[in-house]
Amino acid sequence: MFKTYILILQRDLTLALRHKTEVLTTIFFFIIVISLFPLGVGIDKELLQKIAPGVAWIAALLASMLALERLFSSDYEDGTLEQMLLSPQPLFVIVLAKVSAHWLLTGLPLVLISPLVGLQYHLDFDRVIMMMLALLIGTPILSLLGAIGAALTLGLRGGGVLISLLLLPLYIPVLIYGAGVVVDSALFNNNTETYLSLLMGFLILSLVLSPWATAAALRIASE
């Protein structure tokens, strides 16, 4: 079981690294969305500080979602998904491996690049740290929930936009608390711990439930 996990993880990472652009483009998408805002909204320093956490989270959310579309669909199109479904390995392990790969390729880079937001939006050091922490806990949730959406829309025309329709409402709690951490840390309310433990709770919830739901959705999609 663990061997399968490693195998699939390795496979997906190899595939992604064979096309390095794919990893880089997620990062650049994030950077570009973040850089566009001041152009559309104006460069008032206070305004930027206020909207920074929200913008960062929405950019992260969209970036993570964009890469989701290919999570299963490339396997579906070339028939490897059929093979996985027929393999004697438990499906949720395969799902978990694919989700892990997705997070390593999109979530983690976003966490690492996020200090840039701090620079562009005049955030201080503490808030940047908080934002990184929140993203570190929050982005895996995005990947986990996202996998359900990707599996449900598998093979449907216009899947890309449909995914976002299904997922964005589900992402709301992560968005609210993820952005809340950063705002709160600026107000010195010291509720940051509450926020972070809430996010942690979501993470555990989705870690437990999402692979099963995704596996079920995959079986349904391939029938």
Partner: protein
């Protein structure tokens, strides 16, 4: 070791492809499914491979329903459809290795290389499958049959895109599997001389 269909029907959309089909294949037998384009061969194979749901009737493996057996039945299966089930961005060797591990086989790199060489892919193992020719892609997918240890092979038009030499080779592989007590269920439109005595032919008619 028998795979049986009892009163099996398949419906696609509002078209009944076949109704109340009965057949049984025993270990050491080959079932060749024949019929015109669109008569439901692929649909039947997918149903047998549990990729598609059963519309009506039953499929039994050793007298137990395959829907109940579920994973226990799937463990015995090797499926090869119209799609090759390989990743275009990986090399032939990587693809084969992954298929094996997914199916719980531990194979050495040497065994992988040998299988590919036997399939005539010597010198092409390290190219991404994307650049290979149509026939070479098919060969990559078929190479797994050389290593597979399952009992039941379900192959949908396996000879498509293969050249004469590869067709012969595949015939040999299939014959050997049947003679060693395996079950092979396949469709094809080409006349292929499978020289094993135990061929059953099933003709689907509309």
């Amino acid at each position: 070791m028998t795979l049986q269909a009892h009163q099996l029907s398949c419906i696609q959309g509002d078209r009944i492809l076949f109704e109340e089909l009965d057949f049984s294949v025993k270990a050491g037998e080959l079932l060749l499914i024949e019929g015109q384009n669109g008569c439901g061969k692929t649909t039947l194979l997918k149903t047998l491979a549990t990729i598609r749901q059963i519309d009506a009737g039953k499929i039994l493996w050793n007298n137990q329903s395959i829907t109940k057996l579920s994973d226990d039945y799937r463990d015995q299966l090797t499926w090869l459809g119209h799609l090759n089930g390989i990743k275009l961005d990986l090399t032939a060797a990587e693809n084969l290795k992954i298929s094996c591990t997914l199916n719980g086989l531990s194979v050495s790199d040497l065994a992988v290389m040998e299988a590919l060489e036997e399939m005539g892919l010597y010198g092409y193992e390290d190219l991404p499958v994307r650049v290979l020719s149509q026939g070479q892609k098919r060969r990559t997918a078929l190479a797994y049959l050389l290593l597979s240890q399952t009992l039941i092979w379900i192959l949908d038009e396996p000879f498509v895109a293969l050249d004469v030499k590869a067709v012969k080779l595949l015939q040999k592989v299939i014959t050997k599997h049947v003679e060693q007590g395996g079950i092979v269920i396949l469709t094809t439109h080409q006349e292929v001389g499978l020289d094993t005595g135990r061929i059953q032919r099933l003709r689907l008619t509309r």
